[in-house]
Amino acid sequence: MSRTITPPQSEFKDQVGAIALPKSTPLSDFIQETLALTRRLFIQLQRRPSTLAAGIIQPLMWLVLFGALFQNAPQGLFGDSASYGQFLGAGIIVFTAFGGALNAGLPVMFDREFGFLNRLLVAPLASRFSIVMASAIFITTLSLIQTAAIVVMSAFLGSGLPNALGLALVGLIVLMLVLAVTALSLGLAFALPGHIELIAVIFVTNLPLLFASTALVPLSFMPKWLQVVATLNPLSYAIEPIRYVYLHSDWNLGSVVVQAPWGAVTMGTSLLILLGFNVVAFLAIQPLLKRTLA
């Protein structure tokens, strides 16, 4: 602090009194704080664009490199898909969104560790749920951008495009998956002792969940036990519907998207399962959030 500090002027309070101000309500307060917290996350992204660049380049490399892996596999091996690349697209979309959402807790964890979260917790927030909300808005936006990049890229690689309604469905599915996983990740960010532990959890969940899903190969390739695991994995219920709308422009909620060991799963059932996943995730983190965010 230098000697240039001058005494405070007390004009501000008078000024506030003089202007007729619109009344704030709990809802407008909530919106104000949520937007401000979201803005912070986007400023961070803008000043560190490498994370966004990596988040877009990585899935595209997956698509190109992994797609080439089974280039010469016999036609029809991957169900109705014309090529492995076409088959893989849905898996990459879901895996990318999943990975992004899984990391959602990290910035919150760092805020906890640096004490920045205290700044939010001593403020009279309308609801501390705004902290969760801001992360969710940020991560879903990011995931939708990544999804768009993958969709465009796979179209270039010859996988075609779903129709407008199909694209909307892809967006909806990504949104549902991201929300649930973001919630779980934020819950962990409040429950675990530090970022090392959180990164460890992310590490041991990410790839195993990918391999135990239908992202890379169809169910029919797997042994029975893995089929059971894969059909218990919520990722499969995001992947299969997306894959289906890529191949069938005439999809509806009754379309059978995958044959699970226990029977046929329709588009509608998949969406319900994703919805259920959200409900479970949000219920699971309630007690964790309450402890810190009461």
Binding site: M1, Q32, L35, G115, R119, L120
Partner: protein, 339 residues
């Protein structure tokens, strides 16, 4: 009118450690209140409970008459808190941080911009407003943190060791700034382990030690309670022990001398407690002269807050700090305090 801050029989333990055993204090509206104590005394824990960051085990906390335990959100509206450790987002500029802060406190949108300009000027941060806070010096960061705590013009400003790590000039600037705030009606509660700081700044003080308030009042009340002025006497620059012992016996016989201690660390100088406001210096010098002893240096002073602390605990603040430094697990605490 309800006091700005009322804390009654606050208790908080972390496992086996009783961070706060029994803290009661009352901060009146419009005063600067100092919470003084050595490292680990429980100052930060008390403030964290007050700011609703930590839930106390028991006790009452009120901010302007609002219970911080039952109505934390209402209490938060009255408070501005500047934590002991500066926590900024280094990617944000100063202005952006303040904009975030303004939204968290729901300042009316049209007042935000001018208010931020005002507070930036106030703390001499204008030039730095649009630079990332990661590029700030330690002092600048501290100022920005202070600006964030003041932005919404809280009734009660709570500062945990606001001047730690600042040079003397900056420290005095903060003091003046806080005095200025007080003159405009803001209540200020600060913690410190600098005696001079609390002595110079605070209207009233509570001294806290190992989780207990051991003394409270205005600085001069506290010093008066200790009684007796302090005299430091050097017979020579370095006196032999025998000579110091001889002088001690001699001086203890004087009616106005209450106590004599030989300070071996300071070249066997003598620390005396004498009757308050007495003409002790002349009497002592005469007595020494009659015994054929010289006087190298002698000074009389009123007791300091350190003497208050010494009187209550049997050790000096410095000793307490050194003892505390060895017995804390800082890393574990940091983890715990994360939320």
């Amino acid at each position: 009118m309800a006091p700005a801050v009322l804390i009654e029989q606050l208790q908080k333990r972390y496992g086996a450690i009783e961070a706060v055993k029994d803290v009661s204090l009352q901060v009146e509206s419009g005063e600067i209140f100092g919470l003084l104590g050595p490292n680990g005394a429980g100052k930060t824990t008390t403030l964290r409970c007050l700011c609703t960051l930590t839930e106390p085990d028991s006790g009452r906390i009120e901010v302007s008459g609002v219970s911080a335990i039952e109505h934390p959100r209402l209490a938060r509206q009255h408070l501005g808190y500047v934590a002991q450790e500066v926590a900024l987002d280094k990617v944000l500029t100063g202005r952006e941080l303040l904009e975030l802060q303004a939204a968290l406190y729901h300042l009316p949108r049209q007042t935000i911009k001018p208010r931020i300009v005002e507070i930036l000027t106030l703390l001499g941060l204008d030039e730095w407003a649009d630079k990332k806070s990661g590029t700030y010096s330690g002092g600048l960061k501290k100022r920005l943190d202070l600006a964030a705590g003041l932005l919404h013009q809280p009734d009660v400003l709570i500062l945990d060791e606001p001047t730690v790590g600042l040079d003397i000039e900056s420290r005095v600037a903060v003091w003046n700034f806080l005095r200025e705030l007080r003159s405009q009606g803001t209540t200020v509660l600060i913690t410190s382990h600098y005696l001079e700081e609390v002595d110079a700044l605070a209207d009233r003080v509570a001294i806290i030690d190992r989780g207990i308030v051991i003394a409270a009042g205005t600085p001069s009340e506290l010093k008066d309670q200790v009684g007796g002025d302090r005299v430091t006497l050097r017979i020579r620059e370095f006196s032999p022990v025998e000579e110091a012992e001889q002088a001690k016996v001699l001086l203890e016989a004087l009616p106005l001398v209450q106590e004599v201690i030989i300070n071996r660390a300071q070249g066997n100088s003598l620390n005396l407690v004498v009757a308050p406001q007495s003409e002790a210096l002349i009497t002592i010098q005469n007595a020494l002269q009659q015994a054929g002893l010289p006087t190298f240096g002698i000074a009389q002073a009123r007791p300091s807050l350190d003497d208050v602390y010494l009187n209550a605990t049997g050790r000096t603040l410095l000793d307490a700090e050194i003892a505390a430094a060895g017995s804390r697990d800082l890393k574990a605490e940091k983890k715990q305090n994360m939320r």
